[in-house]
């Protein structure tokens, strides 16, 4: 397994985008030879990985942006404009949701991108996303749906299958769309579908939630829970088109909240409390391997022990994840990338759904895609 990892490490080092992110992590971007750097390749790989805005922000932070040749500088500046527009739109959306739910006395948690942007933490840097994700207590779900409907958020006109998929099988309400702004709001009551094999208890997340200043009733996850949620989302939800972006989020969150105060034991302890040992192990293992996040070997070993994977499983997961998380632009796509993504996609559904629902669901999704009826 070690030999395999070394081979991957060598390969990652030759990918301009990963090289760049690793240099940023080492605070060594000032070493870049600005006139001779392969900017065009970096832009193409980053755009494809949905990291162009992030790279732009990191360049600006390191005072390099103004020294770039004109064309790459324009591309990066334009990518930053997109991120600023995204942040503005997200914060406005959060205010509207707050208006709707606060009047009904419903407390809610901001999740993922919307939380990073509101808090302006390090994962907010150049972050692009489209949906606003929030969490309410299960008992408030119906009232929340009604309060939001009063302010013009409605479930999209999904077909009956999709409605049943969300409500009956996933025990969630389908994504809501605001009739005027056409923005999407996902209202969760837990961070993993209740049909999942992992069962983190929502109340534990609420108990550690951090209130947002000057907005009573609005919360974000605690930093450690935010990291665990990000890890769970990546390693259990199966959307690898943004895999490197999600690893980059994890890298930035880990550096900001854990590396800074060296409190790995709290992170490990919390993963046990929430039954999220396995996603945490994957997060630490792959952030360290891909982006060289400074995590000690002993921490990763301990996380591995808690995850209870046998050596064969670890080899399999390495083979799949290290391929699926690499950037997939044609200039740097790894052999076996497509197959790895497909297998992980099946795995994520297997983790989310009981078997007797899985096969018909996968069949239907393929059919929708083939006939062009699937908009996602």
């Amino acid at each position: 397994m070690q030999r395999g990892s070394e081979a991957f490490n060598g390969m990652f080092d030759r990918i301009v985008l990963i090289q760049f992110l690793r240099l940023y992590g080492k605070q060594a971007l000032h070493r870049l030879d600005v006139s001779n750097y392969p900017w065009e390749l970096l832009i193409r790989q980053a755009r494809h990985a949905n990291l162009l805005s992030r790279v732009a922000v990191l360049l600006q932070e390191s005072d390099l942006l103004n020294r770039l040749p004109e064309k790459p500088r324009l591309h990066f500046c334009n990518a930053m404009r997109l991120a600023e527009a995204n942040a503005r739109s997200s914060n406005w959306e959060v205010r509207q949701v707050y208006d709707a739910l606060h009047t009904a006395d419903i407390e809610f948690l901001l999740l993922k991108g919307a939380a990073y942007i509101w808090l302006q933490n390090d994962a907010a840097k150049g972050r692009l996303f489209s949906d606003t994700d929030i969490m309410v207590e299960k008992v408030h779900l119906e009232l929340a749906e009604r309060s939001l409907a009063r302010k013009a958020w409605f479930g999209d006109s999904y077909d009956r299958y999709k409605q049943r998929y969300y409500r009956k099988w996933m025990h969630e309400i389908p994504p809501l769309r605001h009739i005027q702004r056409q923005t999407t709001l996902d209202v969760h009551h837990t961070i993993l579908p209740p049909t999942s094999r992992l069962k983190p208890k929502p109340m534990q997340l609420w108990d550690s939630a951090v209130p947002v200043e000057q907005m009573p009733g609005l919360f974000t996850l605690s930093p450690i829970d935010m990291i665990l949620h990000s890890a769970t989302h990546l390693f259990h939800e199966g959307e690898f088109g943004q895999g490197l972006r999600d690893i980059s989020d994890l890298d930035l969150l880990l550096r900001q909240y854990i590396v800074a105060n060296d409190d790995w034991s709290s992170l490990l302890r919390r993963s046990i409390e929430l039954n999220l040992e396995r996603p945490l192990f994957y997060a630490l293992n792959y952030a360290a391997q891909i982006l060289h996040t400074p995590i000690s070997k002993s921490t990763i070993t301990e996380a591995g022990r808690l995850a209870r994977l046998n050596p064969m499983q670890r080899r399999w997961m390495d083979a799949l994840f290290l391929r699926a998380l690499a950037p997939s632009h044609s200039s740097c796509r790894v052999k076996g990338y497509g197959l790895a993504c497909w297998l992980l996609y099946i795995r994520s559904h297997w983790l989310r759904m009981p078997v007797h629902l899985l096969i018909p669901h996968l069949f239907r999704k393929s059919w929708m895609r083939l006939t062009g009826k699937d908009n996602h």
């Binding site: 065009e40 193409r44 755009r47 064309k71 790459p72 591309h75 334009n78 997109l82 527009a85 044609s330």
Partner: protein, 301 residues
């Protein structure tokens, strides 16, 4: 050396290659890869006066038009991709040239945010640019084509690019897309005008591309100062009527016609304000091409 001077086989070979065919288009540089004959023909004809790019220059948009092998024998399709990303559903192969033009529009509208990008045609004469925003039924493309055939410099038939940095309009003098009856109207108006092959059965009906005038292509690096903003409305009856439009209303209407106004935020607002300050704003209804041209001539004199 211009595209017209490259032989078709040689052009085809460059389009097939890994680097594709590279050329400058106004403020942008494009690399196009395609093995579709219709695309080679379209490029050779409609981009005849453009020049290939030196290898050392950075490319803004790497695009490709491919025909998926699996459908080659049954209703062949064309797929547009921008650097491995496919923004549209495939179209019938016969619409490859239209797909290329739509694809380029998409690339610019979604990435070139150092401009405020208006859905409008822009032409220029005597150092003053005329912006013609497009809405359904406006006839902007027909008007734009006719003005270009009458000696106005064509800056764009589809997207007015207003620089955030200096407030000037930057050209993208591409082939003018004409639809349905407009094709016949312009053929009659300017019998010498160079049209490419007509593409039929698209979602918008029949489409043909008018080659941009050589002079417009040669001055594709020259910016223009905006002077007139005219909202055209084609009405089949009545007289031509040019009405002054309040600046406030012009601002609001033009903002709705801007592809990236919401992305640019305050920068977009300031750029729009600066534009509206400098231009005379009009609503213009016209019953025929001839009366439209006369009205516009009267305006700029």
């Amino acid at each position: 050396m211009k595209v017209a001077e490259i032989s078709l086989p040689k052009l085809s070979k460059q389009l097939h290659s890994k680097e594709g065919f590279r050329f400058r288009l106004g403020a942008f540089t494009i690399a196009l890869i395609s093995s579709i004959d219709k695309v080679v023909e379209h490029l050779h004809f409609a981009y005849a006066d453009f020049e290939p790019l030196p290898k050392t220059e950075l490319v803004d948009f790497h695009v490709s038009l491919t025909s998926p092998a699996i459908r080659r024998c049954y209703r062949p399709q064309v797929v547009f991709s921008f650097d491995d990303h496919i923004p549209f559903l495939p179209l019938p192969l016969s619409q490859a040239s239209a797909m290329f033009e739509w694809g380029l529009n998409w690339c610019i509208a979604n990435n070139a945010h150092h401009f405020l990008i208006l859905h409008a045609a822009v032409v220029e004469k005597n150092g003053r640019a005329l912006i013609l925003p497009g809405s359904p039924g406006s006839g902007k493309s027909t008007l734009c084509a006719a003005l270009a055939c009458q000696g106005w410099r064509l800056l764009s038939d589809e997207m007015a690019l207003l620089s955030l940095a200096d407030g000037l309009i930057y050209p993208v003098p591409r082939p003018v897309s004409l639809k349905n009856q407009s094709i016949q109207i312009i053929r009659e108006f300017a019998p010498d005008a160079d049209f490419g092959r007509i593409v039929t059965d698209t979602a918008k009906g029949d489409i043909a591309h008018l080659r941009p005038p050589r002079a417009s292509v040669l001055s594709q690096s020259e910016t223009a100062e905006p002077a007139f903003l005219v909202f055209p409305h084609y009405r089949s009856e009545g007289e031509s009527e040019l009405k002054m439009l309040s600046k406030g209303l012009a601002f609001m209407t033009l903002a709705k016609n801007a592809f990236n106004f919401n992305i640019l935020g305050r920068e977009g607002f300031d750029t729009m304000a600066h534009l509206i300050d400098r231009v005379e704003c009009f609503d213009f209804s016209y019953p025929s091409l001839a009366s439209a041209l006369a009205g516009i001539d009267g305006l700029v004199r």
